[in-house]
Symmetry: D3
Subunit: 132 residues, 6 copies
């Protein structure tokens, strides 16, 4: 299995609901360093998984919707705990949609899996991976 | 599949038995930067894999037993080569026991896999992963 | 010159005032990975710059005041742009006060300089350094 | 499953053919930080996956063939786009051959999988993994 | 003293002249991860060293001239060993010119020092720092 | 001012004397990731600070004396607390001697300063810097 990963980041505010979150129930924030991974069993005709430039652009487009936002005010996250692992899924699902839509290039349709890791600090990160 | 990972570290002395280890047969030491990963297919009711605070506390508890120790003097490691990969398993097994015991929270029983990576330097690390 | 550095982090929300900040004028957030450095020309009687345990505890105490907060609501930051470089100074000044107050140990009074670096992402960080 | 990973690097020139590569069609270069991972379900008699010293030596041997080279002039890469993901496969295949040849030690024959990751920058990397 | 640092990277081919360089006399390449630091004793009216967005754009502009190039073919490097430390100076000098030219903003004229670090691998990097 | 830095590591056991060290008074160990920096105001005739190959070899030679050792048994450390900051000085002093001895090359005599940083974990490191 081949894969490529590109890294970007977003800086958001949010708060959590539920006693388990302790002080993180207060409005606070995070830099999420985002690693987006694309996997496929065979390379395309250019000998790549997907064009790194296109992948970087697409990841940037997806996270620009959340970057410099208070996620508590973003409609799609109404009454949702925007945990690191949940946000990883939101981004991964968008990238799969981009593959379907062809914005990652025609040959990107050969991608079998997408994984997204969000680093919330130097000591904690979360991931979500799914098939395409 | 979702996952979260928390990082901590321990500083131990030990020595190895067997010619393959060369100079590492002498008493020496290591800082092990410990990454503990918990995986599950679905998030719990709080939209998380496991509470990062609880996970961090539990990992700290497990490694505190070995931290600032000469592993050659720890009874459970009698006649055992405490290689990086072996120690990864020791810690992973303890974390699985913690899941069974409920110390990571009731909803942590939904965790399917545990993986532990120990970084012994900037150029070498080892992992062990198992199902719960 | 000798130095030691300890690392911790805090997760805050804030917004900026001024056109130069573009989208960062909106309420957003950041994980700041905090590196606190203590410098002195000679080591103390224990052959150290300052006890790493005490230094870690003190840095944790200073940042706990801001951690999981919306800095826009913190009184001392009223009408202040809490830029990364400015926050580095706030933390450095507190650590110098701690040296004066003796909470870093008596021998820590031999420290000549304090520097604080705040990493706001994998591609941007800021520092402030001052003499004690 | 157990694994160990060792890291090394190589510095090469190359160019790509195909419009998708944009400016990377020009002769340019890369430092590839190479992570080679070896996986097996059970440890050997010395309680290890493979000797880290032997693994490091073997990875160094494999990449020395490409290090400080213009890959466009290397015969085996004639008319081949030496993408990061493709080079990961080239190195992984060589390491599997080394396992077969016994140069990683007799007990290394218990290795089930090899994975190689090449970091081309702090924001992009590629991997290839295969069974032995 | 305050500072901010922004990170970018460039991927170049080059060769060196002189026996001291050994195999690096051959045409090879490097990814240079570029850290550009700006220092000043007092913050500007917006409470910053320099706008991170402008700094990032300017660093990108400077390195785009070398990115995806064979430095042996770049006129300004004719008969010059484009060592990592030398390239750090080239970039730092350009950034100082940008400060003079005002492209980093009017208030950036308060910057006293510029430092540039180029990481050529995970185990080697070089810097150049100068006053403005 | 120009500088180059090379990275290596050593794995040692040791213990500390003094109540301030708490559990670190027990025999334990550490991986020290060693960064050795050489600074000079002007480059040499080859356009470099010092040959990175020679620097890497010399740092390796210095730390090989301590690597895989129990520092409590090393004669030169008798009754000495081998703190991270102290060990940084030991290595820096040796590198300065190497400059005097010419083992870093004749042109290395132009080096003005040496700095050594020892990372004992992902959250703590210490440095020593001196003029040549």
């Amino acid at each position: 299995m081949f894969s490529i990963t590109v890294r970007d980041h977003m800086m958001v505010a949010h708060s959590f609901q539920g006693e388990v979150f302790g002080p993180a129930q207060r409005l606070h924030g995070a830099t999420f360093v985002v690693d987006a991974t694309f996997r496929r069993p065979e390379l395309d005709d250019d000998n790549i998984v997907v064009d790194i430039g296109l992948a970087t652009t697409e990841v940037g487009k997806v996270i620009s919707e959340f970057n410099y936002r208070n996620l508590d005010d973003v409609k799609q996250f109404d009454r949702v705990n925007t945990s690191t692992e949940y946000l990883a899924k939101v981004i991964a699902d968008r990238l799969v949609e981009a593959i379907y839509a062809g914005t990652l290039g025609e040959s990107a349709r050969g991608i079998h899996e997408v994984a997204v890791t969000l680093h919330e600090s130097h000591v904690a990160w979360a991931s979500y991976e799914r098939s395409v």
